[in-house]
Amino acid sequence: MALKYDEHNKYHRLARTGVITVISLIVLLWVWWLVSTIIQKTMDFNTSPLATPGEAFVALFDFFNNGDPIEHRSMWSWIWSSLSKFIKGFLLALVLALPVGLLMGYFKILREFFTPWVEVLRPIAPIAWAPIFVIIFQATNGSIMVVFVGIFFPLLTNIVFGVQKIDTKLLDAAKTLGASRMQIFVKVVVPSTVPYLMNGVKVGLGVGWMCIVAAELYNTTLSGIGYFVKFMIDNASYDYAFAGIIIIAVLGLLTTGVAEYASKCISRRMGLDA
């Protein structure tokens, strides 16, 4: 055999990962097909709630070409509606968690005072706020607030942790170079917190994406990919519902992938990957 796997060859490693991933996905599709077929054959439904992969992909193709089967709104408008809420919630969380986290990390008294608040509020599942937020902020802004809560806490705790983990030798070095407390904060504390911030962003984006879909399933925004799934299920168009679920999976993968890539780039740029 001319082909032999070489652990020390970058392309061999890449090819190996690629081949295994493809096989893994094919097996996943097959399991899906098997389960959905068994349910369709053995249970007594007019239309099975578990669409087969074939039905789902046909529906996805139709959704992509002709929009949803009832109102004919385009796939992109459904996706964009979720994405825009997601981005707004994320930005809001970032804008608030950044200063609050940095100050909580830097000033012990603030940390001591606010830690009980964080510990009480953090374990509450973000989606538990949805019913209240929808009443207070209306459907769209309510969903944004759910995303905000989901992303805010991972960001905050990571930033606070990052400020505390700062190398005290760097603070000493800055002091002996004449830096004031304010200058140390801006020129040493903030940059050295960046990798922790990026870690918070990675975790937060994953949680946030789950939050937006869940919030849309719950409430009556009448827009967004989460609502699309609910809308199709209410209409017994389960194949379209599964097309929506595939879109959710792909977008979730893309979001975390982008965050991962951005985090790597920034860490390298900051010289903090080593």
Binding site: A174, K175, Q183
Partner: protein, 285 residues
């Protein structure tokens, strides 16, 4: 942002063109070889919940302008503690540290520091690490550039100016650390086992580089080390400390101009004397 710089508790506006590198001018009236830094009755006592430990026990000594004073002593005797007090990074329990006639209570750019584990800013390039202090002092960009170029050259770092810190070897990192402290022209440079994290060969090369740099620009240096050979190779005087709580055992003059021959027979007796004392103070056996 940094319109003011503080030198020994006095505030100067950068408009006065009193720049960090002119700090030494404040001590210009002190002639070379006269007392620059005075440590009087320095005591450091650590307190924990149920015990107190005396780390440094009423130490007094002087540093003369332009000299290199080494501090040696058994491991854990409080050498670094003394240095951190002088640097203003640690508040002594009692005692007084004065430069000229000004008392030092907090850290400032008049006392530069070089750390054993380099303590460089990993998100800054080599050049921007060296320029950090000047940036803090509000020195304009072109001037920073010009001055950092001089120090990059002096430390043999020119071609690494735009490199990140993690791309450098240990020896290169400490060259950056030394340049970063020197560029501020502090009254005294405090070196806390600066070559302790380097391998023996790199250490020799850096010791030699330090001697070369000092030939061209006179500096006052306090150098903490656990290597007697290093102390003899570099110092004008060696301060020998006892085991904890640290007291001064002896202050020894090292004769001869730098650069010195390594392991020269004329230093054998001095070397033996210090090593014997350190061995007698060793608490492990």
């Amino acid at each position: 942002m940094s319109e003011e710089i503080v030198i020994l508790g006095k505030k100067y506006s950068s408009k006065d063109r009193v720049r960090a590198d002119r700090t030494d001018k404040l001590y210009e009236d002190i002639p070379e070889g006269e007392t620059l830094l005075k440590i009087e009755d320095l005591n450091v006592t650590y307190r924990t919940d149920n015990s107190t430990t005396v780390a440094v026990d009423n130490i007094s000594f002087d540093i003369k302008k332009g000299e290199l004073l080494s501090i040696v002593g058994p491991s854990g005797c409080g050498k670094s503690t003394i240095l951190r007090c002088i640097g203003g990074l640690l508040q002594p329990t009692s005692g007084k540290i004065t430069i000229g006639d000004k008392e030092c209570t907090t850290a400032g750019s008049d006392r530069g520091m070089v750390f054993q584990d380099f303590a460089l800013f990993p998100w800054r390039s080599v050049r921007r690490n060296i320029e950090f202090g000047l940036e803090i002092a509000g020195v304009p960009k072109e001037e920073r550039r010009e001055r950092s170029t001089r120090y990059l050259k002096a430390m043999g770092l020119e071609e690494y100016a735009d490199h990140r810190i993690h791309e450098l070897s240990g020896g290169m990192k400490q060259r950056v650390g030394i340049a970063r402290a020197m560029i501020m022209h502090p009254a005294v440079i405090l070196m806390d086992e600066p070559f302790g994290a380097l391998d023996a060969q790199t250490r020799n090369i850096l010791q030699h580089s330090l001697v070369e740099v000092l030939k061209n620009s006179h500096r006052t240096i306090i150098f903490v080390t656990h290597s007697v050979d290093e102390a003899i190779y570099l110092s004008d005087r060696i301060l020998v400390l006892s085991k904890r709580p640290a007291t001064i055992h002896n202050i020894l003059e090292v004769p001869g101009e730098r650069p010195r021959e390594r392991a020269a027979p004329e230093y054998a007796e001095l070397r033996r004397k210090i090593l014997d004392y350190l061995e007698s103070q060793n608490t492990i056996f």
